[in-house]
Structures are given as C-alpha cells and as structure tokens.
Symmetry: C2
Subunit: 239 residues, 2 copies
DNA sequence: ACCTGAACACCGTTCAAGT
DNA sequence: ACCTGAACACCGTTCAAGT
C-alpha cells in the first residue's frame, strides 16, 4: 500500500528545459540519494528518454555544476559591519544548504566542477570582506582559499556519503574497535570513547543527518576566523 | 613508439592477495586517474577476471577504504613537545600524501568510507595532542573534528578532480568571466584578477598538481591552529 | 528545434561452475 | 580455497532518425 502512484511526475505537454532538468535532478538527489542519481533516472522522473537531456545540458559534469550553483544561489549573506560576523554567517548559511541537501556532499568534496558555474558575487563578497579585514595581494588570495576550504570542508565531512551497509557491519566493527580500545595503547580514545563513537569523524557509521556535528562546526569556524583575525592583526595590516 | 609493452603486469603464477589488489589499485589510480579507476581495470592490470577480486575484497567501497588506509599508513608524525608544531607537521604530511596521489581527493572528499578502516593510532595521536593542549570533554571532540576537517579539507580542495575538458572550454569561460569582470560590480575581484585566475578556488581549471595552492595551505593551517590555541587560552584551560 | 530510439562501450556484482 | 565465465541490471554518451 505504500507504492500507489510511482511518482508519475510529468504530465507531458510541458516542454523540457534545463531549469526543469536541474529541478528534477535536485529532487531526485534529495529523495533517492547519490546511489540512484543518474542521467537515466532524472529522465525517468521527467517522463522522457535519457538522451533527451543532452539537448539541454552538455553532459553529467555540467549538470552537476548547475545543480550546485542552483542550490547555493542564495548563500551570500547581507553585508555586515563586522567582517568576522559576516564570515561566520556565510559559514552557517553554507552549512544549512548542505544540511538541507546532504547528498550533494560527495559532489562538492574533491571535485572541481563548481568552477564550471562560478558565482562571482560570492567570490567578490568573500574577497571584499577579507580585503576590508586587512588582507591584500598574495595574502588575500591565500585567505580567500582558506575561507573557501572552510566553507566546503566541514559541511562535506559532516554530511559525507554513507556507503550502503545493510547488515550494520560498519557500526559493529567501529563499536567493537572503539569500545575495545586498549587504554594502554589508546588512553585518550579509551577515556572519551562514549563521546567519540559515531560523533567523531572517522569513527562514525552515520553522517550529520542522523548524528549532528554542530559543536565541531562552531569550533572549526570560530577557530578559523579567529586565526585569520590574528594574522592580519599581527602583520599590522589594520586600517 | 611510445606504446611498446602495454604494461603486461602480471606474469601469472603469483597468487592473488588483497594486498596485491590494493597495490594494483593505487597504481591504477595514480596512472590512469579516477575516470578509469574501476574494479574491472584493476583486474585487467592484474591479469585476472574481474570477479576474482571478490574473493579477496567484499566490494568497491571496502577496496577504497583499504586503499586510503594504505596511503595514509605513515602520516602520523613523531611526537613533538609543542602541540602546535605537531599539528602543523601532521597537516603537512597529510597534504604530501595527497599531493603524491592527487587522484584520491574525490574518494576522500564527501565520503564516509574512511571509517571502514579507521586508523586508531592516528585518532589517538590527534586526541592526545589536543588533550595536552588543554581540550577536554565535548570541546575535545569538537577540536578533533575541526582538525580532521582541516586535514582533509584543504588537500582535497587543492587537488580536486578536474573533469575532462578537451576543448578547454572551462579555461576559456573562466578566463573570460574573470578578465571581463566589471570593476563596478566586482571591484576586489577585478583589481586582483591576475593573482586569482587559476589560483583561487572556484576560479581554476587546473588543480594543485599543475597550479600549487601552497600559500593558502600555510594560511589555512596556521589560522586554524592559532584559532584553536586562542580558544584553549581564552577558556583558561592551561595546564 | 526538440525528442525518440537504437547502439556502443562501459560499470559493479551475483552465482554457478570449474580446479 | 581460489578463480573462471556467463549473466544481470545498470551506467553516460553518440548519432541517426523522426516530427
């Protein structure tokens, strides 16, 4: 009784468009996850032949680039007098998008696709903020790269793709090795094992959707921003 | 004349083993890149049927987990009296591994696979270092997560997967949009465009292999470490 | 201009069969 | 115990053909 109407999404008549394709792609990714995210399944959801998409989108990579651009279209925060507050807000907004669409994590992670649809307003926003903070020249580029890394870094880890584990083998083996960690060899790990299990990166079998890593997000972003602030301050680049 | 012997890797006789499979997988990933990295091609390199691998390795995910574990087996630095120096060394060693095997970036990025072969010595090393710095309880977990993020974050971005772009369309469109950025709309971007093009994340068509992002790495890791130091200092968690 | 439909060269994985 | 070999249910993408 759970599978009445198999999501007959397209009443035909409506013509295909690249926007409709991206929308269907986002919907599919959110509903079915990365493992079922394919050109063919997007086409199926649209009630159209797979090859029909190629009239509107050059290939899978560009489709993903546009999908990412669409999801992050509104991350840019309003201006703020305090550059540190602005950065923090940006980090938070970025994380919220990933949290709302966690399955994009692997698509952002180690891929350069995003460049295919660069959001210049976002780039300028970060650059202008860092320039205002006191960064210039090469240091501005470095600080910008540090910020972008911080932006993607935490969220993509927190909401990383969990590979299929029907029998719960991963949970079992992680629990066993953490619970059974020899205090002589791993004193800190053993002492804090209950806080760490499924809540510390590399010791998880679930991602941020089921087991939030928000405290670490606060720590990470605050530390990064504070470190950047200290850098400009120490170098005497004050306005 | 460049393709004499097509790498006839296996003289047969030598029996298959999971270690041999991982070694062949690393070799394939390094030589051919992610786009040709498949179970079938690993098998081909070993001169064996694809399905033969399944006797030694449960599936693709576990194979990748073991591959990652093998590559990072030696990242853990020697002990150092200064916890900040130790962390910096760890960051640098991690980046060096990724730089030597850049094609793993997408496999680390937004995936939780690494958990399948957690390196407890590495985990303990980071935890012990942070505990020594003054972190405890929940803050220790948060700081640990921040460090792991920093570890993976920058390197996976710097050496991110570049999708095939035979006609150089990406380079052309990025160059055009950055070079032609309206100074009225994008003042900072326009002013520093020569420093940014292909060297700022999201404005690149090459990754760190061809266009190093090391200055940003220094900035990022120094800022993160300094920020963490400030955090423990401010909270008065000194020993 | 836009979509169909067949086709190509791939995937990961299961499972029975061989030795 | 370890590998072969066929088979299944998928991929992304090309290209000719339809309308």
């Amino acid at each position: 009784m759970a599978r009445e109407k198999p999501a007959k999404r397209k009443a035909k008549s409506v013509p295909l468009s690249s926007d409709a394709i991206i929308a269907a792609a986002i919907d599919l990714l959110d509903r079915e996850g990365l493992d079922n995210f394919s050109i063919r399944n997007i086409a199926k959801a649209l009630g159209v032949y797979p090859t029909a998409l190629y009239w509107h989108v050059p290939n899978r990579h560009h489709l993903i680039a546009r999908l990412i651009a669409a999801l992050f279209a509104d991350v840019l925060p309003e201006p703020d007098p305090d550059w540190q507050v602005w950065l923090k807000t940006l980090f938070r907004r970025y994380r919220n998008v990933v949290r709302a669409h966690p399955n994009i994590s692997p698509l952002i992670g180690g891929h350069l696709v995003s460049s295919a649809s660069a959001d210049l307003k976002l780039v300028e926003g970060i650059l202008a903020t860092l320039a205002r903070a006191g960064f210039a020249g090469e240091d501005l580029v470095s600080a910008y790269n540090a910020v972008i890394t911080g932006l993607c870094g935490y969220a993509t880890q927190e909401f990383a793709h969990v590979f299929p584990d029907p029998d719960g083998d991963l949970k079992a083996s992680l629990t066993a090795s953490v619970e059974g960690a020899d205090p002589a060899l791993y004193p800190t790990l053993a002492a804090e094992r209950h806080l760490l299990l499924n809540r510390a990166l590399v010791l998880r079998w679930q991602n941020g959707t089921e087991s939030s890593l928000e405290p670490g997000f606060e720590m990470f972003t605050d530390a990064l921003i504070a470190g950047l602030a200290q850098k400009v301050h120490r170098d005497g680049n004050l306005e």
